[in-house]
Symmetry: C2
Subunit: 281 residues, 2 copies
């Protein structure tokens, strides 16, 4: 029997637990989200983040810039937030417009307030097998979801399709730190199906419908990180859910799988940074 990994339910459970913790704080944790431009998906994402933060009693602000805002203006704002004691967590919503050097912006964030874990310092720590201030949200959410269902990683062959800095690469490092064997595939990979078929845990994060029947190992775990609208306007993921469902043990759905886990991980990270900031005083 195949089990559907219920990210939505786990998110709600973790939200309840986290709310109790936040209610006990003397001061509200603060999350600042920087949004540049009017990408509709980005607007949806940042509003979701703000709404979830407010449910928890986390103070949240969206700092919204026009698409043609100069890079220096954003960096100056980040420096201001770095020095603001009411802000524990800073998030820059990606993607950024092409005139902006993404890494210049991200790396302006104080690593102690880097709630996505994307600064060179935090990603270098993750890469080196050391503990960053916080772990990137999407991989963190996936590991929490696997843990909830007692799916272990040690000695497993984890095949990741997609090598982004947001999902594929940090996920590879976190899987490696948990003693999984890791394969990273991408658009240049040849004979993809021959590799995905060897996966004990297959994780796809491409935003294209690429995982179909015959590409998965019998009894394996499939995690779908992709999310996009198909030609009929239906929200779907990388994996043909009904096609592979009969062959595998566990699968995360889209929507309701990795997406909610990413949001709750952002909230957990915000609270972790808040708690670490108290310890530093």
């Amino acid at each position: 029997m195949t089990v559907t990994l219920d990210g939505k339910a786990l998110k709600e459970k973790l939200l309840q637990q986290l709310k109790v913790k936040v209610d006990g704080f003397d001061k509200k944790p603060g999350l600042s989200v920087i949004l540049v431009g009017d990408n509709p998906a980005s607007i949806l994402y940042v509003n979701n983040k703000k709404k979830t933060a407010e449910k928890l009693g986390i103070h949240s602000e969206i700092i919204h810039y026009d698409i043609d805002t100069p890079q220096e203006v954003i960096i100056n704002k980040i420096n201001e937030l770095n020095n603001n004691d009411n802000v524990n967590a800073i998030l820059v919503q990606l993607p950024l417009p092409p005139h902006i050097d993404k890494f210049k912006i991200i790396d302006a964030i104080n690593p102690q307030k880097d709630v996505d874990g994307f600064t060179f310092y935090n990603s270098g720590k993750l890469f080196s097998g050391e503990e960053p201030f916080v772990y990137p949200c999407t991989p963190k959410g996936i590991l929490l979801l696997l843990k909830e269902y007692n799916i272990t990683l040690e000695g497993k062959h984890v095949v990741i399709v997609g090598r982004s800095n947001i999902a594929g690469k940090p996920l590879a490092m976190m899987m490696l730190n948990n003693n999984a064997t890791v394969t990273l595939c991408h658009s240049y990979t040849k004979n993809l199906e021959q590799i995905t078929k060897t996966a004990d845990i297959l994780i796809s994060a491409t935003g294209h419908d690429i995982i179909k029947k015959g590409m998965v190992k019998k009894g394996s775990v499939v995690i779908d990180v992709g999310i996009f609208k198909d030609e009929n306007g239906k929200t779907r993921g990388d994996v043909d859910f009904s096609d592979v469902y009969p062959d595998i043990s566990y699968i995360s759905p889209v929507p309701g799988g990795v997406g909610p886990m990413t949001i709750i991980s952002l909230m957990l990270n915000t609270v972790e940074l808040y708690e670490k900031s108290l310890n530093n005083k």
Copy 2:
């Protein structure tokens, strides 16, 4: 016919080219090597590095500390070297004694003088797909060796055995940046031979004799990063050279393969940091 990848010859060729360049500099580049304790292998390595640097006209010093030197003394020395304009490159010979926090020491190095590319900043840049000040020496040397023999990486399946911060992990990132599909194996990997047999390029970096006949794909490339003395005192690598030789296309020997390429990469990195320091003035 199998080709043996001659790292020693390529090192000599690159040394000649680099010497011409260094001879043209107004001022000598400076490499400072910090050694803590009396590990015989480490002493051999740092002396080799110093000798090679001197051949090139690079000013090199070994700063040798007793094994029980406090961490702060070493960090203070690194700060001094960071501020010394005659020093372009700082290397801390690993391993360090157990009372020392390796990452505190490494991360004290100014990333612009981090000749091994091991600081969080530089490894975070590598991880993020951005150009670090320099690339770690062993992976850099392997890529130079493959390039010399026109062995391309795009679309190849590269299987790496060993996940150290010095070799396996940065190598994985550099292979990924060159559009190879990458699998990272290690001591927890199950059915290792089934994975290694799928490699177009197999790279072993464990320091144990683990790669034997039947573990390699016909016609593949095998790179041996391991180096140790066997029970008869003979220097050897991870790969049973004569055992796998008939089945493959290319193999790097031990000694004379990756080892010399690591040393010449250190020299190339020292000169690169020197040149970058001039551009920063």
